[in-house]
Amino acid sequence: MRLSLVLGLCGLALLIAAPLALPPFAMTLLTELVILGLFAMSLDLMVGYTRLVSFGHAAAYGIGAYASGYILLNSSTPLPFVVILAALLTGFIAIGVGWVCTLATGVSFSMLTLAFAQLLYAIAFKWTSVTGGSDGLAGIPRRPGPLGITFFTGKAGFYYFALACLIGAYVMCRGLVASPFGAVLRGIRENEAKTLALGYNTRLYKIAVVAISYALGGLAGALYAPFAGFANTELLFWLLSGQVLIMVIVGGSGTLIGPVVGAALFMLLEHQLSSYTEAWALFLGLFFIAVVLFAPAGIWGLATSWLGRARARAEPEGVRHG
């Protein structure tokens, strides 16, 4: 436990020190990884802790991105406020989405989330006056403020803002899954009928977790729009929903950190492989199959089990037997 805490703090220190050492593009990439990691982590609340497998999590990302993009383009509200506002809006919309989707369970639940995401995709396509239609919103600025602070609009400043969002969300999620609420979520994950029989209104808990998960996914999307400077229908498309689900599973669901690692891995692999070969999708596919076969608990699960073994080896024989 202490070892993981030390490693965690080291990792955090590295992330904080990154802008001092890394060249510009590495910072760009790292910022995108942080945003994508937040997105994957938000889905883990549903997939890993409640076994609510969403096929439509792009909806959260897209709503967040469009909302923050629209507000930034059409008002001078400072960036941090806009991002948080967009996240809240996403969570609010998700209450309705969750209410309908939780009528069903299992694959039907997954398909209902997909239906909502695709309907939003269709809306974004058609509601040109707000969403820009198929062109999307482009040239989204990073508005300064509050109090005239321009720090967040710069490259390093924006990175720190995104990192703060990720860490804040992580601390929140950790607290959530360790709370009485989190215990009920685990109950739903393992045996929903029993949880209901114990007197928990499981549907309310599920709607709540959908809303929280979407709000955090919306936070990620709300960061992406001013990061990339655009928001378009691609961010609502089912392909992204599939990809983020794969990120969660590759990293290791139900760990919060795993999905962040999975997101980083997914994006870096895709980015790097596609520089080396046009057949990058082939290798990415083979990699996923290999992970399933050889790392059942995901990459993070594999890494932590290694750490455990390494620590066991490091301890002297006498300690273990005594």
Binding site: F25, G133, G139, G229, E234, L269
Partner: protein, 406 residues
């Protein structure tokens, strides 16, 4: 077994680790080839529009090869950085940003989708880079979304629609319908076309839009049939275009309604074979265009590619590369500021004839032309044959506009 498994697990983790830690992303620009002119091409090499991306790649690579053999530009070699975006704007922005921030690229070209171009354009000022479009047809790029570092060497969507309209003014068809893809390009082109038809006092009966990825075009074919139109204007591309052409032939639609399209390209003709016969449309580039520079290019191309013919975006990319070269030579520099100034005044003799970028919106004024798909001896697939040309002044829209006044 356990040992073996453990080794394999380690391999998985190591492979993953290598990808993350792979040094080149985290470090600054690699050692540059001395004085080479770097041109970044983030193109959709894979995915549904892979055909277009691959054409761009072939066109650019061939241009670099030919020009480098002649000593490059200003005595400097052309170095192409071609990356796959899979047609996703998020990937495109990231790849373009990598080219700019890590590789020091100052000239971008060959972006495949308009959505990718629209995402990249607002970043050009920050990147201090020039973007020379060779493909992107979205009218907005030279209108609402125009930025000074953007140049368009290719024929835009509205220009294609205009060429078809000019052709129709003289043609015998009177009752006209339109079918477009349900996104910006389709709506934009159909709008231009509709206005044109109304001005030409033709009977514009109606229009319908199909989402991209439509598999069954029968309802749209039925609508066209029911409208009583004698000609239908199509703004389709890629898989949708192929599906429509195959299915409309199966319904016998072309027997009754003349089909006019905004883009005729060889890839589509190959994909639907004889189902494309009789199709009339504007063409952004065709190997059959009668111009000495083009003849020279086509000959060179066929020698290099086992007799294969250059397709639309191979020609368009070639022209975009010609424009970049002309700009650099005139500016005697690849720096953004002088290059931009030079490009706005340069006039060059390209494979499509004279082209010149307008100062106001950086659209290259060039001839528009209409082709018809016919069978011809010596070719094993149908080919587009030029049936009309229009001077650039007539096909180019008003400055920073997507519409026409006359």
């Amino acid at each position: 077994m356990t040992t073996k498994l453990r080794v394999t697990r380690r391999a998985v983790l190591a492979g993953a680790g290598a990808a993350v830690a792979s040094p080149n992303v985290w470090t600054s620009a690699r050692a540059q080839a001395a004085g080479a002119i770097k041109i970044g091409i983030p193109a959709a090499l894979t995915g549904p529009l892979g055909t277009v991306g691959q054409q761009t790649k072939r066109g650019a690579e061939f241009y670099a090869k030919v020009q480098n053999a002649k000593g490059g530009i200003l005595g400097r070699k052309i170095e192409l950085l071609i990356e796959d975006t899979a047609g996703n704007p998020a990937n495109c922005v990231r790849k373009a940003q990598e080219m700019v921030e890590r590789q020091g690229v100052k000239i971008l070209t060959g972006l495949t989708l308009s959505s990718e171009a629209l995402a990249v354009v607002p970043k050009l000022a920050e990147w201090d880079a020039i973007f020379m479009s060779g493909i992107n047809g979205d009218g907005r790029l030279t209108a609402d979304s125009f930025v000074p570092n953007f140049f368009r060497a290719n024929i835009s969507g509205p220009m294609g629609a205009r060429a078809v309209s000019l052709y129709l003014r003289e043609a015998k068809f009177n009752n006209i319908y339109a079918l477009g893809l349900d996104y910006a390009w389709g709506h934009n082109s159909v709008q231009v076309f509709e206005d044109e038809m109304k001005r030409a006092k033709k009977n514009f009966i109606g229009k319908v839009f199909a989402p991209t990825g439509t598999k069954d075009y029968s309802t749209y074919i039925t609508k066209i049939r029911q409208s009583g139109a004698d000609a239908c204007y199509l703004v389709l591309q890629g898989d949708d275009n192929n599906a429509f052409l195959s299915q409309s032939r199966q319904y016998g639609l072309p027997d009754k309604v003349a089909l006019l399209t905004e883009i005729v390209d060889l890839a589509s003709i190959k994909a639907v074979g004889d189902d494309s016969l009789g199709l009339i449309g504007s063409s952004r580039y065709s190997f059959s265009y009668d111009h000495p520079k083009n003849k020279e290019f086509v000959e060179l191309w066929r020698k290099e590619h086992d007799g294969g013919l250059p397709d639309t975006f191979e020609g368009e990319t070639w022209q975009a590369m010609q424009a970049i070269q002309a700009g650099i030579e005139k500016a005697k520099s690849t720096d953004t500021e002088p290059l931009r100034a030079a490009l706005t005044t340069v006039e060059l003799e390209s494979i499509k004839g004279k082209i010149k970028f307008r100062e106001c919106d950086h659209q290259a004024v060039q001839q528009g032309f209409m082709v018809k798909v016919v069978k011809k001896d010596g070719y094993n697939t149908p080919i587009p044959e030029v049936i009309a040309t229009f001077p650039g002044e007539r096909t180019t829209p008003g400055c920073k506009k997507t519409t026409y006044d006359d």
